[in-house]
Structure formats: structure tokens, C-alpha cells
Symmetry: C2
Subunit: 513 residues, 2 copies
């Protein structure tokens, strides 16, 4: 009796990957990924196949409206939006069994399917239908056409996305005769932001939200722009002071060699780059991505940040700084014939080697780039003096100019706080709003933009000191440390209490309203 | 220290008048007006001039975004949105003096300016800036061009309207250095719906809302479609059983005469119509509008419904049914050389006789019609057996067909409940949401779609048995009956308690968030 719903649909492209501002920023460091799910050690593919969890899934389509907010002739364009339902464990129609809905985030579908562990593990407990929606359907033909067309990609916005969610959930409740079933929405990272915002905007559709690793405060000056990299730095420093120092010193070393005659060739050889480096920045950006990724996804049982530092610290005694850095890369990325400096923008994992998939990833990057260039303007920069990274402050004006030249429209850096709020969160929401869990792991760099303090009795922060990005949403594993088990239990207990209160209310009010 | 804000701007056209479904429905009765402000006896213009209240007003402009929800190139079109501020009594910048914001409804500006009495009367008490915004500015040139262009009028939606409000209020708070000033939004009728929805969608912008006579439940089957006319009927019956009976019998009389040879000429003469009737329906629709209007605006001290019934009942002894009906019309509309059967669609009051204004009113009608033809689908019909009106049920399919042929787009009758909610209101909102007053007068036919029961401690219903449409928003008058004085006092006390709690919270949270 459990219902997990997950979707991507028109917005799948948004939901997938807030990859790489390097598309936009040229010489600004790549935007850290807001991926929901765990990155495994890159050299060792994740165990656990998707097929084993997907047998219960049923794929359905909903006729979705292109533009919910206007009444122009083209607003009425309908596209088939795919969603996935697992109703195997559900209590059935005309019961009040809960419905769990997963809001997709920005990772590959395979990762996403794997990542709904929390819902599947806890579904029987809540006696809920298991839904899950996602769709590959895009209006106006192919994804490529949609993203390349300025008029079409203009509909890729979070407000349209959650309006889609609302329409689909209402449709599902009607279809399943589940009018009185409480709906809990769950998402991680960008999906977590959508889940929290959904509870605020559509309380009549969702009873509550679990927003895992949702940096809803990383907008419009709410959180310091250095927050992200300050945590990456702290994670490294805590793991190994020596490793941290090596990385801190490495940037100057790279510059020093790059400035030599034939310096880029030397660096290219040293780091076994697949193509000769055209500028030292690309190497630095690659390393920045490695460090960010292992900090963000520093999960048990493998703890990839440890792996990188063991590589760096454990290199033979006389290895120089850049030799150690390369040893760290090899330890994490695996021993390869060459290393693709663009991998973090267009990954080349064996899983995604097909041409089609590559194109898809590129388009996902473009979609994500558009999203960050429109409303999801997260000013993440390096400028902290204690950072292990070289300074690279976020430059809003430059960012706006680049976005305008790329997409012809300019970002609205204040829109997220205008539409969803964020300033004075506790003051505003502690007498308004209810039933939101903001879960975080404090080793996740994005926790610097997360809600880490209880807002009220039912808008609460559940965090772990040792957790990383969206860890609580992953399936339970035998190797899970006690603090992770406890976090998930706390979340389940809180959600169960919302549902229990709702059932009480239902008895009181159902015949009177 | 009081702040009243009121606006219309791009959406002025929407906000003005949900006039006349007769544009749409052909032989369905005209849609009752959702006008915020009191209709006086038509033959005696309202006393009290606008100039006397408008001296303190300052007119300003805001560069408003055409489309908040999409990122298409045209979404970024900027138009100057006019708003009006009265800051004479305000506490000043860097204080925490409240800001009262009035959301315009669908009446002429003159009526609207008159109607902010509640805010002006209570402003000193709240020590608030007095704002008030309204703008005549419409993107893409003239109103006519905007409304005739399917692409432009498509942006006339409530979601865009309240996003505009949010942007302007945030802008005003910044301009006036009023970051911590609590904002109370106030509106009547359609403006009241916007105020209530605004508090739900933008709690970070408005601390609370006074939604006067806001029929937020007159959508999507929430309230019975006969509700409106059932109350009109009740109002007449309570005032005079004889008057009610005369009206009830009059429809058949009209049909009987109309079916005679030269019947329409007889009726035209009998009712001194300005143009010869082409069908009896137009007379019936006119009478329907008279009865609806006097019921909706049956206010002290004149009580126009009484005037109509005194006309009907007080006609010379041997006057027949239709003679009595006409006497009622004359009593209310005044003794005229002829009666314009289209007056309720395109009023010809002396005040609005200029050609320009006429054109404006027609366009307002078109704008309102578009609004009811897009999202504000209120299924108001006659089918009650105890009604004093002939049966005329609301036919959604016919309505949709007519809207499509008029505007090329079809209504979304479920959108209001999808975006704003409405089903199971108490169940949903009693643990979510706060600080909304739903005020109603039970003699107002629209109260049949209003919230008449407390939802929680701070989402409350304040109604009067004898009140009519938006009566509480009008300026205090010496002739106000005790129940009206009490209603306003209750509203003021509740709003004061929200602000007081907010100030307490501010001390607790301001330095911690």
C-alpha cells in the first residue's frame, strides 16, 4: 500500500541536471551539480540493477497543458506527459491510504529509479500506493527542437513544473478514487526545493513534503555565496589536513607550469588529458568538479572524498604536489588511458556511451543551463580566504550578460524569493505553513543554502553532521551507519504524525465541509 | 501612518467588472456583477466627491513584467504600471508601521476610490501608510488593442495579477525602507478573492488579508449553482411576500403578452424601452439585473431592494402585475423618458456618458467577459423550484462553446480549484494558512459562495445577517446600523491582533533569521 510518484515530463530536462555553468561562464568554475542521487566511485559502477525495482511500475500518460498561467492560444497546447505508478502495495480505491509522490531531480533516469529507495522502503509502513512519474514527452517534437527554440524552452520553469505536478496528482487521485488519500511529496536537491515549494503553494494537493538537501536559501543574497566551497574545504580539511594543504597549494603549481614554455603540454601529459589542454583553467575546472563531487556525494560505505585523499596522501614519498593531485584523480576516477576534462559537463561513463544518450546529456546540460540562466540563479562563488580554492567570486552582471547572449533572455535573480519567499523564513512561516521536513547532511556543500533550524512544530529541520547530498532518499543498505538509520526513522516518524493528524481531522471535518 | 494601496494596472480591465455573460450566453441570463462597491439608487447620484479623498494621493509608476511565469522573449516585455500611494499618515521609513494595500475590484475608478473607506477610516489606528494603486497602463498600446489581440489578452489572469501585486509591494517596501512593515491586503468581491489567494500564495509578502464578499467557493461545483438566485429570492421574500409573489408571476405574464400579435410592441411601450424589444428575453434579462443588483447592494441607509418593492407593492390598487413591475423599475431607476435594456451591460449613467468612457465600459465588459471565459468560471444558474425566477440552469458545455467562438480559447473550469484550492477548505487549511478574514453579508447573493465558517483561530468568517456586498469596505457613515459598526470593529480588532503577534515575533526572530 504505498504510492511513489515521480516525474520529469516536459520539465524532465530541467529536472535532470543543473550542470555546468561553464557553458555560460567561460572562465568561471563550473556550477556544482545539484544531483539528487549518489555518485559512486566512478571506476566501479553502482551495483543493484534498475530492472529489479522497475517490475512493479506502470507507465501512463497525462494530457498536460503547456502553459498553466496564461490564456493565449498556444497556452492550450497539450502534450502527453508520462508518469509511472507503482500501486502494488497500495490500500486501494476509496480507502484513505497515503500516496507518496517523488519529484524527480537532475540525474539520469537510472540513478533516479535507484534513488527512490526511501519511498519503497517505507511504503508498506504508510500503506501507500507507489507512484512515480516521469515522461520523455516534450511538446513540439524532439527535445532538441524544444530546447533550441526560444519560445518553447521559455516554458521550462519551476512554477509551470509544480503546476504540472498539481494537475497530475489531482488527476491520479481522481483516477484511483483516492479523494481522501493524503499525498506526501518527496524530492531531493532541486526536486527537494520543488517539494517544499509545492507544499507552500499547493497545500490542498499535498499534505506534506520531505525536501532532502534542498538549498532553498541559496538565492538572492540569502546565503553567502562562498557557502558551497567553504563546506567542500571543511570536508577536505576534516578528512585530512595534509590532503587539504596539497590541494590548496596545487593551483599555484598549475599556474607556474602553465606559464612555462610548453607548459600546457607538460600539464596535459602529467594529467593524461585526452585532448591537449588549451588553457590551464580547464584542468582547474576539472579538479574543482572532482573535489565538489566527492564532497557532495561523500557517502557510506565508500566515502569517495576519503578515496581522493588517500590517493593524494598515499602517493609515494617523493611525489610532488601535482603528482599527488593526479594520484587522487586516479584513485577516484579509476586508472584510465586518458582523462576527459569535459567529463563533468558531458559524462562519458560506459553506461551512457551511446550516441543518443550523449546527445541527450548535452541537451540536458543546455536545459539546465537555461534554468540557471532564467530563475534558478544561485550565486555560488569562491572568495573565502580560508578556502582551498583560488578566488573566483560570482559576478552577477557578467552572468546576466552571458545568459542574455546565450539565450536572448535575461535571468530574474529575484524571482525565486518573490514567488516562493526565503527572506526572514522563520518569521514568515512559523505561523503559516506546516508539514515540511528539510533534511540535510552537513558535509553536503549545498547544506550551506539549506534550512537547518526548525521553523515551527511541523516545519522542521532534520540533519546529520556526517551526511551528504540526498543520502536519506537512497535505499536502505546493510552498511548504513547508525546516524543515517536514525535520520530516516525520524523522517518516517514525522511524516507518520502528519498523516495521523490528518486522519483525525478527516473524521472531524469530512462531513462538515 | 496608514498605507492604502490599490491597483488595477494591466489588470485594471480585469478588475473592473465581471459584467454580463449576456455577451456570451445569448439567452442565458446576464451574469450578476461582482462589483465591489455600493450601487446607489440610480436616479440619485452618490454624494461625496472623489476629489475630497484624493488630495493625499501620489501617483507613481512601476516597470511591470508582462509574464512572470515564463521565460519567452516576449515574457520580458515591460509596461509602466500605475499605482497610487497615500503616505500622509504613515509612520515613516525604517519603522515597522503597517501598510494597508487595497486590491482593486471591478467597478469604475470613481466608485473604487470612494470605496476604500474602511482603510482610510482605520488607517490612523494602524498607523499605516496609505497606498493605493491603480494604473491605466496597458502593454502594446491602447486598451482596445490589448483586449482585441488574442496574444495580449491571454496575460489577463489572476495568477499574473497577484504576481504583479507581489512585485509592486516588494518594490514599495524597498522604496519606502519598510522591510519590516507588516502588509495587510484588502479587497472586495473579485478583489477579495485575490486578497485571500494572495495571503495563501504570498505569505512572505502579506501578513494577512481581509477578503470582503469573496465568493471563493463559487467554482467547480463547490457551491450549488442556484445559490446566488436563491438568496436574491430570499431577500425579496423577506422584504415583502407580496412583492416576491408579483415578481414570481411576472415572467409568465411577459411571455403571455410577448406571444400575442404585436406583443413585443406592447411590452416595449409598457416598459418605455428606448429601442423596440427584439425578444422578450431582453426585458426579462433587464429585470433580472435590476433584482440582482438591488439584492446585492441592498445597503443602508437607502436599501434599494425596499425601494423596488415599495414601488411594486405601492402601485395604485388596480395596477396589473406588469404595471407593478414597471413601477418598481421606475422607483429604482428613476423616472426616465425611456429605459435602456442594455444599461446593465453598457451603463449610461450621466457620469459615464462621454464617448471615451462608453468605449472603456464596453472594453471592460469584454475584458471581464474574457476573464469569466478563461478561469473565473462561476456556474451561476436558475433552477431552484422555490426561486422567484424562471428556470435557466447554467450549461457548462454551451458556455465553453460560446467562449471558444468568442475568444478562440476555452475556459478552464477546474483551474481555480487546482491553483487556489477550495475543496475541503476546512480540512485543508485549518492546520495550514493563517490571518484571513472572510467577511460577508448574508443578504448578498454572492455570500452563497463565501466562507461562512471559521477555518481556524486566525482564518475566520465575519458575517452579518443583514449585510450586503462589500458593505464593510465602505466609509463609515452616521447612518450605519449597529451591526455594521460591530462588523468593522471586529475586523479591525482581528487585524490588530495579527499585527500585534507579528511584532512579538519580530522581536523574537528578527535577529536570528
Amino acid at each position: 500500500m504505498d504510492l511513489i510518484t515521480r516525474h520529469s515530463f516536459l520539465h524532465q530536462l530541467l529536472l535532470f541536471s543543473l550542470i555546468s555553468l561553464s557553458y555560460v561562464s567561460g572562465t568561471q568554475f563550473s556550477f556544482p551539480r545539484l544531483g539528487a542521487l549518489r555518485r559512486t566511485i566512478r571506476s566501479k559502477p553502482q551495483t543493484g540493477s534498475i530492472s529489479s525495482v522497475s517490475e512493479d511500475f506502470e507507465t501512463l500518460f497525462y494530457n498536460q497543458t503547456l502553459d498553466h498561467f496564461n490564456y493565449k492560444p498556444e497556452s492550450f497546447t497539450i502534450f502527453p506527459q508520462r508518469y509511472i505508478i507503482d500501486s502494488k502495495q497500495w490500500g486501494g480505491p476509496n480507502t484513505i491510504s497515503p500516496i507518496l509522490v517523488y519529484f524527480g531531480a537532475e540525474e539520469s533516469l537510472d540513478y533516479d529509479l535507484f534513488g527512490i529507495g526511501f519511498l519503497r522502503d517505507n511504503a508498506p509502513r504508510f500503506k501507500a500506493l507507489q507512484h512515480r512519474f516521469y515522461g520523455k514527452s516534450v511538446p513540439f517534437g524532439s527535445r532538441e527542437a524544444a530546447l533550441r527554440n526560444a519560445s518553447v524552452r521559455g516554458y521550462f520553469t519551476s512554477a509551470q513544473a509544480i503546476a504540472d505536478y498539481a494537475a497530475i496528482i489531482i488527476h491520479i487521485k481522481k483516477t484511483f478514487s483516492a479523494k481522501n488519500s493524503p499525498v506526501i511529496v518527496i524530492g531531493g536537491s532541486y526536486g527537494g526545493m520543488l517539494a517544499a515549494w509545492f507544499r507552500l503553494k499547493y497545500p490542498h494537493v499535498a499534505l506534506g513534503a520531505l525536501a532532502s538537501s534542498a538549498p532553498i536559501l541559496y538565492f538572492d543574497g540569502l546565503a553567502p555565496q562562498v557557502g558551497y566551497y567553504a563546506i567542500v574545504t571543511k570536508d577536505f580539511k576534516e578528512t585530512s589536513e595534509r590532503c587539504y594543504e596539497t590541494i590548496r597549494k596545487s593551483w599555484d603549481e598549475i599556474d607556474k607550469i602553465a606559464s612555462k614554455f610548453n607548459g600546457l603540454s607538460i600539464l596535459s601529459k602529467m594529467f593524461k588529458t585526452c585532448k591537449k589542454l588549451k588553457r590551464s583553467f580547464d584542468l582547474k575546472d576539472y579538479l574543482d568538479s572532482v573535489y565538489s563531487e566527492v564532497a557532495q556525494y561523500d557517502c557510506p560505505p565508500t566515502y569517495p572524498l576519503n578515496i581522493v585523499c588517500r590517493g593524494i596522501d598515499g602517493a609515494p614519498k617523493r611525489t610532488d604536489i601535482l603528482g599527488r593531485i593526479f594520484a587522487g584523480v586516479v584513485a577516484y576516477m579509476g586508472n584510465k588511458s586518458c582523462y576527459d576534462m569535459e567529463e563533468f559537463n558531458h559524462p562519458t561513463d560506459e553506461t551512457y556511451m551511446s550516441w543518443k544518450w550523449q546527445i541527450f546529456r548535452i541537451l540536458v546540460g543546455l536545459g539546465s543551463c537555461f534554468l540557471t540562466c532564467s530563475e534558478m540563479v544561485m550565486p555560488i562563488g569562491h572568495e573565502h580566504s580560508a578556502s582551498m580554492f583560488p578566488p573566483s567570486p560570482f559576478n552577477l552582471n557578467k552572468f546576466i550578460r552571458k545568459c542574455k547572449s546565450l539565450f536572448g533572455v535575461q535571468p530574474r535573480p529575484h524571482w525565486v524569493t518573490t514567488y516562493y519567499g526565503g527572506h526572514d523564513l522563520k518569521l514568515i512561516l512559523h505561523r503559516f505553513a506546516s508539514n515540511i521536513i528539510f533534511s540535510n547532511g552537513l558535509r553536503d556543500p549545498y547544506s550551506s543554502g539549506g534550512v537547518l533550524e526548525n521553523i515551527s512544530d511541523s516545519v522542521v529541520a532534520v540533519y546529520t553532521v556526517n551526511g551528504s547530498h540526498c543520502l536519506d532518499l537512497l535505499p536502505e543498505m546493510k552498511t548504513d551507519p547508525p546516524w543515517l538509520i536514525k535520520q530516516r526513522k525520524t523522517e518516517v516518524r514525522i511524516i507518520a504524525s502528519w498523516i495521523s493528524k490528518y486522519y483525525t481531522d478527516l473524521i472531524v471535518f469530512r462531513d462538515r465541509t
